[in-house]
C-alpha cells in the first residue's frame, strides 16, 4: 500500500453528495489503466481487462464519500448552525475543527467554557441543535462573504503516522477502499473485472443502487473500513474486531447476511495463502453490500475490510499491517473469483 496515495485521498473533500474532488483524483489515477465512466450520480465505474474473460461479472466496490456537516442557517451574529451528514456522535464534534464551503474556510465547533457550566450541563452532552461553527465572522453579512447556507463542512484533521505502524486521519472510511481498488486496478489481472467508486454510502447506500443497475454484476466484493472497538476496558466479543489482527471478513452486519459460499471461499483462501484474517464478533455497522444484495434480481455479496478505530470521527485510526493483509487477500480473490465455477 502506498501511504502517500492514502494521504492524498484522505485529504480530499468528499462529504456525501459532494464527492467531486475524490472522483476527479480517482479518474486521474486510472487514466490509461482501465476504461472509466462516470454515471449520473457521480459513481465512477471502471472496467479493467484481464488476461482472460471472466466466467461471471465480478465487481469490486468502495465508496468515495465521507461523513460531514451541512450548514443549515447563518445566525445574525455570524455563527453557523449545522446538521450532520451521516452518523456522527455529537460528542466528537465538541471543539472539533472544520473547513467550510468551497473555499475551505477555517471553522471551529466551540462550546462555552467549562467554567460557565451548571452542574447539570457538566454531566450531559450538549444537543446537536445547540452547537454552532465559529468562522470568526462579525455578523451574518460578514459570514455571507465567505460561505452560504447549504454549504458543506468537512473535518479538518491531519494525516498522521504514529505508534507502531498506525495511521490517523479523517475519511479513512472509505478512502482506504478507494486506494485498495486503485492499486488492484493497476495490477495485471487474470480476469476481466469491474471496479466501482460509489457516492453517498453514508446517507443510505444510495450510489451503490445505481451502480448495481448499471453494471449488473453477479458477485460484488465491498471493500471497506469497519468499526474496531479493541479499546481500553472493552472485552471479548464487544471488541467487534481488532487492529493488528488482519483483514476483516464479516459474516453479517446490520445491512447484510453475506453469501455463505463466498464467505467460506474467502476465509479458506486466506488460510491457504497464510493471510491473517478475522471476522466481526458483533452484528454491527453496514455497508454498500446491503444495497448490492437487494438490487436487480439479487446479487451475491462479500465484504473484505480493514479494521478501523473511531470511525466517523475526525480521527479514524488504522494499522498498516492490516492494510497489507487486506490488500493481499483482495488480490488473491480477484485472481480467483472470475475463474471458479463452483463458488
Amino acid at each position: 500500500m502506498i501511504k502517500s496515495v492514502l494521504h492524498r485521498l484522505c485529504s480530499l473533500s468528499g462529504v456525501s453528495g459532494c464527492e467531486d474532488e475524490v472522483g476527479e483524483y480517482i479518474v486521474s489515477e486510472l487514466k490509461g489503466v482501465a476504461e472509466v465512466k462516470i454515471d449520473n450520480l457521480g459513481n465512477i465505474i471502471a472496467f479493467k481487462k484481464g488476461k482472460q474473460r471472466s466466467l461471471r461479472k465480478v465487481l469490486f466496490s468502495a465508496h468515495m464519500d465521507e461523513v460531514g456537516l451541512i450548514i443549515t442557517k447563518i445566525n445574525d451574529d455570524g455563527y453557523l448552525r449545522f446538521s450532520t451528514i451521516g452518523g456522527i456522535d455529537t460528542r466528537v464534534l465538541i471543539s472539533a475543527r472544520v473547513k467550510v464551503g468551497k473555499n475551505k474556510v477555517n471553522g471551529i465547533i466551540g462550546i462555552k467554557a467549562v467554567h460557565l457550566l451548571s452542574k447539570e450541563e457538566k454531566t450531559t452532552v450538549p444537543k446537536l441543535s445547540s452547537l454552532y461553527i465559529d468562522i470568526g465572522a462579525k455578523n451574518k453579512d460578514d459570514a455571507l462573504k465567505y460561505i452560504n447556507e447549504g454549504d458543506i463542512a468537512e473535518f479538518d484533521s491531519d494525516f498522521v503516522e504514529f505508534g507502531d505502524n498506525y495511521i490517523k486521519s479523517k475519511a479513512i472510511d472509505d478512502r482506504f477502499g478507494c486506494l485498495a481498488l486503485i492499486e488492484l486496478c493497476k495490477k495485471e489481472l487474470l480476469y476481466d473485472t469491474y471496479f466501482a467508486f460509489t457516492v453517498s454510502e453514508e446517507i443510505g447506500l444510495r450510489g451503490a443502487f445505481a451502480c448495481a443497475y448499471e453494471i449488473k454484476p453477479e458477485i460484488v466484493v465491498v471493500v471497506e473500513a469497519t468499526t474496531a472497538v479493541d479499546l481500553a476496558d472493552i472485552k471479548g466479543e464487544n471488541k467487534v474486531c481488532s487492529l493488528n489482527c488482519g483483514a476483516v471478513i464479516p459474516f453479517m452486519d446490520k445491512q447484510t447476511i453475506y453469501d455463505k459460499k463466498l464467505f467460506k471461499f474467502a476465509t479458506e483462501l486466506a488460510n491457504e495463502k497464510q493471510i491473517k484474517w478475522q471476522t466481526k464478533t458483533k452484528i454491527a455497522g453496514g455497508n454498500d453490500a446491503g444495497a448490492f444484495q437487494r438490487s436487480l434480481a439479487g446479487i451475491r455479496v462479500l465484504s473484505v475490510c480493514v479494521p478501523c478505530r473511531y470511525l466517523h470521527t475526525p480521527s479514524c485510526v488504522i494499522n498498516f499491517y492490516d492494510c497489507e493483509h487486506t490488500e493481499k487477500l483482495l488480490f488473491e480473490l480477484i485472481q480467483k473469483l472470475g475463474g471458479e465455477s463452483n463458488v
Partner: protein, 346 residues
C-alpha cells in the same frame, strides 16, 4: 499587529504543562532577549526579566502573565498499551473525544483520545458526558513499548495547530495564556525606545492552572510596588449569557474585584479613556481566579490590577482571541508603565 500575531502563533504551539514548563522557556526567553539581557529563572521555572530604570531607587512595576497551559497526567498504562489519565487542572473533558494529544514522556508521544463508538452505547449513555476515568489515550504501541516511552506522572497536552479565523481571530491550544504573554511582549515593544521612570519587571509565571502557585513565589522574589496581571477571560458565545461574559473585539477587560486595588482599576480606566483604547469592565465578586489572587497577598501585600483579554472556548483545544484585543492590552500596559512617576503612590 503582525508582530503580535507572529509571537502568539509561535508561543501557542510551544508546550508548557503546569509544573513541567521547561519545554517553552527557551522560546519565551528568545522573545524577551530583544528587550533585556537581565533574564533569570527561579526554582519553580518562573521567568523574571528586568528592564532597568535610569533612576536609582525607581519604583518597581511588575507585569505578570502565566505561561503554563492546562494539561492531563498519566496514571496508568493498561495491558494493551492504552494510557489512562487524570485531569487535575480544569481541562474541559467534553472537549477531549477523538482529539490529538502529546504525552510528554521520554520523548513526545502522539496519541488520540479514545472513545467508544455510538453503536456500543445505550441511548442513555449517549446523553451522558464522559468522565475522565472512562477515557484512555491510544498511542499505537503495545504495553511493553508504551512503558519504555511513557511513565506514570507524565504530562499530557493538546496537540493542535494554531490557525487564523476571519477578522484577525486566532484559534489554538494554550492561547490561555500565551495571549497574555504576547500582550506583555507587545508592551515591551512599545516601550523599547523610552527612558522609563520605573523599573519594569516582567514575570512569566508557572503553575497558574495548578492554583496560581508560580506567581506567589515570583511576586516574593520580585517584591514590586505595584503589579498588573494579564490573563484571559470569557468572551460571549451564543450558548453563554451576555451577563457573564465580555465581548470579543471590544478591547481590554479591566478587572474590578475586592482583591484588586480600586485606584489601579480606576487609573487603568482613565488611561484607556484618555488614549482612546477600547475597554470593557469585568466585575468580579471573588478572588478573580487569576494570579492576582496570590500576588495581592505576597510579602506584606502588593497592590494589584488585572487586565484580561476576551477569549472564547476556554480550556479547550480551540481557544480563540482577536488580535486587536491583545494590541489594546499592550497599549494600555505601556500607558500605565509610562504614567507612573517617582513618588506616586498607585
Amino acid at each position: 499587529m503582525e508582530l503580535l500575531k507572529d509571537i502568539l502563533l509561535q508561543l501557542s504551539m510551544a508546550y508548557a504543562p503546569s509544573g513541567r514548563e521547561h519545554t517553552a522557556t527557551e522560546i519565551i526567553e528568545k522573545f524577551l532577549l530583544k528587550y533585556t539581557k537581565d533574564i533569570k529563572k527561579d526554582a519553580l521555572g518562573n521567568i523574571i526579566a528586568v528592564i532597568p530604570s535610569k533612576k536609582t531607587n525607581a519604583k518597581k512595576i511588575m507585569l505578570d502573565a502565566h505561561y503554563d497551559e492546562i494539561s492531563l497526567m498519566v496514571t496508568n498504562i493498561d495491558d494493551d498499551g492504552f494510557v489512562k489519565f487524570t485531569s487535575p487542572f480544569g481541562v474541559d473533558i467534553r472537549s477531549l473525544l477523538a482529539k490529538e494529544v502529546i504525552i510528554h514522556g521520554v520523548q513526545e508521544v502522539f496519541g488520540i483520545v479514545s472513545s467508544k463508538p455510538p453503536h456500543l452505547l445505550s441511548d442513555e449513555e449517549m446523553q451522558k458526558a464522559y468522565k475522565v476515568e472512562d477515557l484512555a489515550i491510544d498511542i499505537g504501541f503495545n504495553n511493553e513499548k508504551a512503558n519504555k516511552l511513557i511513565n506514570i506522572g507524565d504530562s499530557i497536552t493538546f496537540k493542535a495547530r494554531t490557525t487564523n479565523l476571519k477578522n484577525d481571530i486566532i484559534c489554538g491550544k494554550s492561547v490561555d495564556n500565551r495571549a497574555g504573554v504576547t500582550a506583555i511582549i507587545g508592551c515591551l515593544e512599545l516601550l523599547k525606545n523610552i527612558n522609563l521612570e520605573v523599573e519594569l519587571i516582567v514575570l512569566f509565571s508557572v503553575q497558574e492552572e495548578a492554583g496560581t502557585k508560580g506567581a506567589k513565589v515570583g511576586a516574593y522574589t520580585v517584591n514590586p510596588d505595584t503589579a498588573i496581571v494579564v490573563d484571559v477571560s470569557h468572551a460571549f458565545t451564543p450558548d453563554a449569557s451576555k451577563d457573564e461574559t465580555g465581548e470579543m473585539g471590544k478591547g481590554v477587560m479591566i478587572g474590578i474585584s475586592p482583591i484588586l486595588k480600586r485606584e489601579i482599576s480606576a487609573e487603568l480606566t482613565q488611561l484607556a479613556k484618555e488614549n482612546e483604547i477600547p475597554f470593557q469592565t469585568e466585575v468580579m465578586s471573588d478572588n478573580t481566579g487569576t494570579n492576582a489572587a496570590s500576588i495581592q497577598i505576597a510579602r506584606s501585600g502588593i497592590p494589584t490590577g488585572l487586565i484580561s483579554i476576551p477569549l472564547k472556548y476556554m480550556h479547550s483545544p480551540c481557544e480563540t482571541v482577536m488580535l486587536s484585543d491583545i494590541e489594546c492590552v499592550s497599549r494600555l500596559l505601556a500607558e500605565f508603565v509610562k504614567g507612573i512617576r517617582e513618588g506616586e503612590t498607585i
